[in-house]
């Protein structure tokens, strides 16, 4: 057995089913050994997308996604995908090949100091110096990636270590890390304090972030909201914690959120933030969530609590444990008048659009699409105007909503949707992107075809980098610079080159019929939706 065989054994022991990647000489021993395993390999068309696909898979399975790329450019290409996962706390294990240990530091062909380069985007990284450390390192890496505040872990493995002989392979059953013991259980005294505040509050509000989904606490949060009648808003990463049509759900907050959700944050007297970073896009002024109210901040990462806003009651722990603790207690919350007020605001403050009938109205289109999607469908939104429309108009029933929230990485949707579809082949998986973001990942149509990944793609097309154009419209008075996407391919011809079905929608007249056609079979299909180039989110 060599080091590469040992790595494969570790992945098998962790229950890994799929590895996304791109080989090169420095990772070839790994890709040679994996042939003897039942682990499926997916040849992605650029390394960044290997990390995005692993991210999509991780978000569906709740286990770390795995990618494996070669040294040098393979490793540096994957950094944006790692940084994207880091910003959204998605668990990944990224394996990079590396040049021979003895040549490290001598700038030989395809050498890059990847552990150094990626330091600020990983939860932890390893450079394997001795093949006998492989079992311990992989055990730790999977543990680190998927416990506490989740995140990507990188393991750099020089080619000589992959080729070195390993004797007496044994995968550890226990972790022995003296420096890493994340707090999972919430402090009982703090929990009591929160309950006291809930009993006192007239206008309580729960603001849920991506951390709720990462801890698989959405069921407990829904039960909590229903049992105590507490209204809920979400950040972008928290979309899907509550079904969109739940009477106690009042939409996404932030500068691209619902006005009534932001008003709820302003007016509440008790705000419970859970699994949310209080970052600028959700809460652009921290005073808003601290002034005239009690702020409770629940997070598994103590460093997030108080980073951007000082809470009245900090509560460190895993959201699922904490909400189960709340549910185990007997108390009541009296806020009927408040939820009535919020419900009235939801009607009176609903944003009004004035769509151009010559084009597809993204709002009406996304609403109708999501009504027609399967109940447990997965909707992956890309980045740009399309993302904001998706956040605003997609209706989550019992499915998942995923996007690159923290990093805002264009091109995320198609590879992430591929990862999600491979994780859940029975579910409908739809990537919704713009014509800019589509062109950042369109090389993956080949991956979809090669591996039969039946992702459905919607391109919201306006021939502009719409979000930047909109910014230039407001900030620079229509002084447009480098946002015109002329030269983009004819999508019909492009898609036919991959033997993929193509549909097109130019206005809302045939929307219903085309959406039915788009959703009909479990097959990959691309739907081009032409929207008004001057439309604003």
């Amino acid at each position: 057995m060599n080091g590469a065989d040992a790595i494969i054994k570790c992945l098998e022991a962790e229950g890994v089913t799929t590895v996304f990647g791109y080989p090169g000489v420095a990772i070839c021993p790994f890709y040679n050994s994996i042939l003897e395993s039942s682990i499926r390999t997916i040849l992605i068309r650029t390394e960044q997308n290997a990390a995005h696909a692993a991210s999509g898979m991780a978000r569906m399975t709740g286990r770390p996604g795995v990618c494996a790329v070669t040294s040098g450019p393979g490793a540096t290409n994957v950094i944006t995908g790692i940084a994207t996962a880091f910003a959204d706390s998605i668990p990944l294990v990224c394996i990079t090949g590396q040049v021979n240990s003895e040549l490290l530091g001598s700038d030989v062909f395809q050498e890059a100091d990847i552990t150094g380069a990626v330091e600020s985007f990983v939860k932890y990284s390893y450079l394997v110096r001795d093949a006998k450390d492989i079992p311990r390192i992989f055990k730790e890496a999977f543990h680190l990636a998927n416990t506490g505040r989740k995140g990507p872990v990188l393991i750099d493995v020089p080619i000589d270590i992959q080729n070195a002989t390993v004797t007496n392979f044994a995968y550890p059953t226990e972790i022995n890390m003296r420096t890493y013991k994340p707090t999972v259980k919430g402090n009982a005294v703090q929990i009591k304090k929160v309950i006291k505040e809930l009993e006192k509050a007239k206008k309580p509000l729960l603001c849920v972030g991506g951390g709720v989904l990462l801890s698989e606490a959405e069921g407990s949060v829904r039960d909590f909201s229903k049992r105590f009648g507490v209204p809920v808003v979400s950040t972008m990463m928290g979309i899907g914690v509550m079904p969109t049509k739940d009477p106690l759900y009042f939409g996404m907050v932030g500068n691209n959120g619902k006005p009534y959700a932001n008003k709820a944050i302003q007016d509440c007297d008790l705000l419970i933030m859970v699994g949310a970073r209080v970052a600028d896009r959700a809460v652009n002024q921290p005073e808003i969530i601290t002034r005239n109210k009690v702020l409770v901040h629940i997070d598994v990462d103590p460093a997030e609590i108080g980073k951007n806003a000082g809470p009245t009651i900090p509560l460190v722990g895993d959201a699922k444990h904490i909400f189960e603790d709340f549910l185990a207690q007997e108390f009541t919350v009296d806020c009927k008048a408040w939820t009535d007020e919020l419900s009235a605001n939801r009607v009176s403050m609903a944003p009004k659009r004035n769509p151009n009938p010559k084009f597809v109205d993204p709002a009406a289109f996304i609403t109708e699409l999501s009504e027609k999607m399967q109940d447990n469908a997965v909707y992956v939104a890309d980045v740009g105007q399309n993302q904001i429309w998706s956040c605003a108009y997609h209706i989550v029933k019992g499915g998942r909503f995923m996007t690159s929230g923290g990093m805002g990485t264009m091109g995320y949707s198609i590879p992430a949707a591929m990862g999600a579809k491979l994780a859940a082949p029975d579910r409908q998986v739809i990537a919704v992107c713009g014509d800019g973001s589509f062109q950042m990942s369109m090389m993956e149509l080949a991956t979809m075809r090669q591996h039969g990944v039946a992702v459905k793609i919607i391109v919201i097309k306006n021939n502009y980098l719409g979000m930047v154009r909109q910014y230039q419209h407001f900030t620079y008075k229509d002084h447009y610079s480098v946002v015109d996407l002329s030269g983009s391919p004819d999508l019909k011809k492009l898609v036919s080159a991959y033997d993929m079905k193509y549909l097109r929608l130019d206005n809302m007249k045939k929307a219903s019929e085309i959406i039915d056609e788009f959703l009909k079979n479990d097959e990959s299909v691309l739907l081009e939706c032409n929207v008004d180039p001057m439309d604003l989110v």
Binding site: S120, Y124, T179, P302, A303
Partner: protein
């Protein structure tokens, strides 16, 4: 702005220094000084970091340090809660006419002469950082050639709870 001394026990592994130093630059925390050395345990190093900031920054530094997987323990001290020392070597020019003055300064500051040649002298001082800074300013007029300082080393004051 408050000055704080962080005594950080870390795993003695390659790359840990750059991870900790990188954390300070990435999070926009300042480092006034940083000193590293092995402890009595071979696999543990102690980093002594002096930094300053408002209450919020000070708390964040401690939390972000604790979050690093290689960090075993963080102790945070005010200057009054710790014994702090710095070692300095300083090379100065001298001549016949100012040699006595130089000796006097060294005497008063309890600095030692550890090496000399016909025109140069090397002085050593181990003291609190304010006094190493003071010695530099006292030696300015002689002509300073080179200075090397360790940065602050500190340990919390002895207590029966240790």
């Amino acid at each position: 702005m408050k000055k704080k001394i962080y005594s950080v026990l870390v795993e003695n592994r390659s790359g840990v220094l750059s991870k900790v130093a990188g954390l300070f630059s990435r999070r926009n925390f300042n480092i006034e000084s940083l000193a590293v050395g092995e402890t009595d345990a071979k696999d543990v190093s102690c980093m002594t970091i002096v930094s300053s900031g408002d209450q919020h920054t000070i708390e964040q530094i401690e939390k972000q340090l604790n979050k690093k997987i290689d960090v075993i323990k963080v102790k945070t001290f005010d200057e009054t809660q710790a014994i702090a020392r710095e070692l300095m070597l300083i090379k100065v020019k001298y001549n016949k006419s100012n040699r006595r003055d130089l000796m006097e300064v060294c005497d008063m500051m309890k600095a030692q002469i550890v090496d000399m040649s016909k025109h140069f002298v090397m002085i050593q001082l181990c003291d609190v950082p304010e006094r190493t800074t003071l010695l530099i300013s006292m030696l300015q007029s002689f002509g300073i050639v080179e200075v090397a300082r360790t940065g602050t080393l500190a340990l919390g004051k002895c207590s029966e709870n240790d």
